[in-house]
Amino acid sequence: MSRAAARVILTAERTLPTEELARLPELTRVPHFLVAAVVHAPEGARPTSCHPYYGIDEAGVRAYLAAADAPETLRAYLDATDQALREG
């Protein structure tokens, strides 16, 4: 998808110095010239998983599905999630 898209916006659990990635260039999956922007989004995949940092949060997925039924409950869910993440 990163190859087919006209613009790529990356979200990342962690950002690292360029030199650290350059030590093993073969591990870089999406090179810089294909990327329009990077968003530092720790825990950005929740309630789904991001190996190896965290697994799926099944109760969280159910809570999301319940909230996603209506715009008002979805809004409240997103606001609560956002606040929880900000407070760490």
Partner: protein, 249 residues
Amino acid sequence: MEYGPAEIMAVAMARLLRDGEVVFNGVGSILPMLAIEVARRLYAPNLVYLNIGGGIDARPETLPSSSTDPSLLAGTAGIVDQPEFYQLVMRGGVDVMFMGAVQIDPAGRTNSSAIGDIGRPTVRLPGGGGAAVILPTARRVILWRTRHDRRAFVEKLDFVTAAGNVDRVVTPLCVLRRHGAPAGAPEKMAGRLAVESLHPGVTAEAVTANTGFPLPIPPDCPVTPPPTAEELAVIRQFDPKNYRLLDFQ
């Protein structure tokens, strides 16, 4: 400052690169590697450099003698392997490709396959590599040839290896441009090569005598600006072993 064909060719190629472009060079490409380095040090700092080994933005300390040198992979910003590269060029992601050729015709088509009949060649050449895919898909192709003579510039190719988006041809004598019909020229000249600039000290007669087809040369043909002191300094610093001269021996 003194300079020769290698230096004027390197700077002529370097000046064709624009900042931010994605530029690729293939195997056996010492002069393009030198041109890319001159460009990014002096006027295209954000150029994205891909080479045949796959390294992105390789930064060797000095020019390697081979375009597959390990220094073109170590510490790079990623690896674009061969399938990945062809996907990239086919979807329009490569701005400039440097490509060599053994024969070049008036339309900028190339032969790097065989001399003589392809079924029974008198000389079997290295082959097209990816040329047949890259020439029509890279946005601009810069051909280069370290010899400008009637064996290289022929009216009819012995075999058409590749044809496509050839924009310029850089030789030891001049820079050729392939474009729409030159001003005042008949429509049939569209897509044909014409001289854009003669290198310093090169006459129109010399180019005509060494080209195997009629090549338009404007009467007030510009002269390729000689390498600047800055350009020559980069060349000498980056290529202390003079590998750039290998292709001229």
